[in-house]
């Protein structure tokens, strides 16, 4: 049942999906890829963002993206606080990052319970005028429900990329990943630089949450589905390479979508993780590894 029409559409759907995956993975690409902090709780913060967006949307009819952007300062501060706790408990003592895993699992559960108690267990959706409509480009149909998250995800990636490569603080963040000592010689405080980076990474959760709830219904425990995927994207992208993260996200999205269309959706996720396994076997440091 192969047709060019179907192929182009599957490709487009994969790209849209990939753009969204990039948005979810960005936070981990920075915190884990650059700072070596395995923030397993990032997806649950994405969930938290989704619920805040839901509240603004259902109470005041606010546009989901706008609401997501609106809450970024809150997540920035939350991220800074979380890093402070992490630093005080682990990094300062030089404890290995393994304990960090347990710590973040704990945080994950705590936030998840908070969401359960505050927002209940029902599936939540948002409403917006454009949800349900599609943009047609020749034979290819692009649902706004997926197109907007993709555009937003790619824009967020681009912004972060520019910030990291063009500004002083951005370069300092990249520097701290490679050589904290050299950074100190330059007169920057590694702790502050890392806190800034972690806070920025967390701030992306708010926008990613808006995209998530725009694409489909959410419930608090859903964050667990995205842990594996976001870490897979980060690793495949080469740990901290922002451009690599985007390419990896697009690759997984396209692989999933093509499999779903032509082979059977049951194998979509397995194929994308299979791609990851293969890629790691061939090129252990990811696609754009340092």
């Amino acid at each position: 049942m192969f047709s060019l029409d179907l192929f182009l559409n599957a490709l487009a759907a994969g790209v849209l999906l990939g753009g969204f995956y990039a948005a979810v993975s960005l936070g981990i690409a920075v915190s884990f890829g650059l700072l070596d902090i395995a923030n397993l709780a990032h997806p649950v913060f994405v969930m938290f963002g989704a619920y805040l967006v839901y509240t603004m949307n259902s109470r005041f009819g606010m546009d989901p993206i706008l609401a997501g952007v609106l809450f970024t300062p809150l997540f920035f501060v939350l991220g800074a606080l979380l890093y402070q706790l992490y630093y005080a408990s682990f990094e300062r003592k030089g404890a290995e990052s393994l304990r960090g895993l347990v710590f973040f699992f704990g945080i994950l559960f705590i936030v998840e319970v908070g969401l359960l108690l505050q927002f209940g267990v029902d599936y939540r959706l948002v409403e917006a005028r454009y949800i349900g409509e599609s943009l047609h480009l020749g034979p290819v149909g692009l649902p706004f429900r997926l197109l907007i998250p993709c555009v937003a995800g790619v824009s967020l990636t681009a912004l972060l990329y520019l910030f990291l490569s063009r500004t002083f603080y951005g370069r300092a963040i990249q520097g701290v990943a490679q050589d904290a000592f050299a950074l100190r010689l330059m007169g920057a405080n590694p702790f502050k630089v890392k806190r800034l980076a972690f806070a920025l990474a967390s701030a992306t959760a708010s926008v990613a949450g808006a995209l998530l709830i725009m694409i489909g219904p959410v419930e608090p425990a859903m964050n667990r589905e995205y842990i594996g995927r976001a870490f897979a994207v980060t690793v495949l992208g080469g740990m901290g390479s922002i451009g690599g993260t985007l390419v990896a996200a697009l690759m997984l999205g396209v692989a999933e979508s093509l499999t779903a269309t032509f082979y059977g959706p049951a194998w979509g996720v397995a194929v994308s993780f299979g791609v990851l396994l293969l890629a790691l076997a061939v090129r252990p440091s990811g696609l754009f590894g340092r």
């Binding site: 049942m1 047709s3 029409d5 179907l6 559409n9 599957a10 759907a13 994969g14 849209l16 999906l17 969204f20 359960l116 209940g120 267990v121 029902d122 599936y123 939540r124 959706l125 948002v126 409403e127 949800i131 349900g132 409509e133 599609s134 149909g141 649902p143 429900r145 997926l146 694409i215 489909g216 219904p217 959410v218 419930e219 425990a221 859903m222 589905e225 979508s257 779903a260 269309t261 032509f262 059977g264 959706p265 049951a266 979509g268 996720v269």
Partner: protein
């Protein structure tokens, strides 16, 4: 090596202490008194994937217990529910039910919500020859054929087939008669059962399957699937899905312009308020299963009063505000028990089971009669068509007309708009 031996010994002591705490932690609740209330025990999904249904179901059961106690209880004793959260994890079920039976010493056990939570409890109740009332399990007893199991989901004696049968009966009655079918569903327990049943019926009716696929639960995007189906242009699209993917499927079908003659069938979740109100007009024209809707053909005594009280309370407890899907059935399976206890004047498991098997029971979901394997003697799966939904207003769903029953004929309360593409 002394330095190594020391922490070892100390560790052993702490292990023993911890084990002692573990063993000692249980029996707090086991101090029993005379003239105790009748204890009814169950595990229920209050967290995890099925919690959105488990919580309202538990609330309905608590309402039943309060109602009974207001009337003076059963056999002159008050009724007390003892429940634990099974976290939607089958692995917690054996411990929960043995705790209920051996530590809490409950008089009656009832099931939690759903096939996967009922299955692990079956061996325990069978082993002790207990009466077991099930809440929405699909064919749990097929393998065991245990005589004292009764299940309230009205899907008849061959549940996998019956859950979608009215859909297919409706389909083959239409002119022009549909020929080709696409079936799709999530990789999970109910969808797979429903798809297997559907395949059987499709074969019987001589329809042709052109697409047959499943997708993993929690798939992010279903537009690819919808598009692949659309490329084959089937007359019927039958979907067996769980809440998140039901919503995704409805949205994807709209976005890619999937317009078969008949669309829907087995989508779980469209019955819940959260999705009903948010998907709103996008659901118009979909034909989907349901078990109770506020239509004139289903006005059983007590149901309206129950829902009124449920809805008032749901708002406070933050559970499904309409409560049309599961709560009436959770209340009804308690009523079956109430009926049996009052009828036999006893708590003897075998007597109760015999009584339930032999009699018809009046409940708020109508008269219930059990048949083979403790399933409903005759199926009462309904197909409704979402019609004329314009806004996301909640109130409209409390009145008849938005979800008229289109099959089976016995309960029909509206006419099917066919084909689906004619629906605006």
């Amino acid at each position: 090596m002394t330095s190594k031996r020391a922490p070892g010994t100390r560790a052993w002591i702490s292990i023993v202490v911890l084990l002692a705490i573990a063993v000692g932690a249980g029996p707090w609740a086991s101090i029993a008194r005379a003239a105790d209330p009748i204890k009814i025990g169950l595990g229920m999904a209050l967290t995890g994937g099925l919690a959105a249904n488990g919580k309202p179901a538990l609330m309905a059961m608590q309402m039943w217990a309060e109602d009974v106690n207001k009337k003076g209880g059963l056999l002159g004793r008050q009724v007390q529910l003892i429940y634990y959260d099974d976290q939607t994890k089958p692995a917690t079920v054996p411990a929960i039910y043995s705790k209920l039976l051996d530590v809490d010493k409950v008089d009656i056990v009832m099931s939690g919500y759903g096939t996967n939570m009922i299955a692990p409890a079956m061996p325990i109740v069978i082993d002790r020859k207990l009466l077991f009332l099930g809440l929405f399990g699909l064919a749990n007893n097929e393998k065991f054929q245990y005589p004292n199991y009764f299940q309230i989901l009205p899907a008849g004696q061959n549940p996998a087939v019956e859950v979608s049968l009215p859909f297919w009966e409706l389909a083959v009655k239409q002119t022009p008669k549909p020929q080709t079918v696409a079936i799709v569903g999530a990789d999970a327990e109910y969808p797979h059962n429903a798809l297997a049943g559907a395949r059987e019926v499709i074969k019987k009716y001589g329809l042709k399957i052109v697409y047959d696929a499943t997708y993993p639960p929690n798939t992010t995007d279903l537009t690819s699937v919808a598009r692949a189906i659309k490329a084959l242009d089937p007359d019927i699209v039958f979907v067996a899905s769980y809440p998140p993917d039901s919503a995704l499927m409805v949205q994807a079908a709209h976005e890619v312009g999937l317009k078969p003659k008949l669309f829907g069938g087995g989508m779980v979740g469209l019955q819940f308020t959260a999705l009903l109100t948010k998907l709103g007009p996008k659901m118009n024209g979909i034909v989907n299963y349901d078990y109770w809707v506020p239509e004139p053909t289903l006005k059983f005594p007590g149901i309206e009063d129950f829902l009124k009280r449920y809805q008032a309370r749901a708002e406070k407890e933050g559970v499904d505000p309409l409560g049309h899907y599961l709560p009436p059935w959770a209340y009804a399976y308690c009523q079956v028990l109430e009926h049996a206890i009052n009828g036999t004047k006893s708590l003897d498991q075998q007597k109760l089971a015999d009584y339930i098997r032999k009699n018809e029971h009046d409940t708020i979901v109508g008269k219930v009669k059990f048949g083979k394997n403790g399933e409903w003697e005759t199926s009462r799966v309904l197909m409704v068509q979402y019609q004329g939904i314009e806004t996301s207003d909640l109130e409209q769903f409390k009145k008849p007309g938005k979800r008229p029953i289109v099959a089976p004929d016995k309960y029909r309360s509206g006419t099917l708009i066919y084909p689906y593409s004619k629906v605006k």
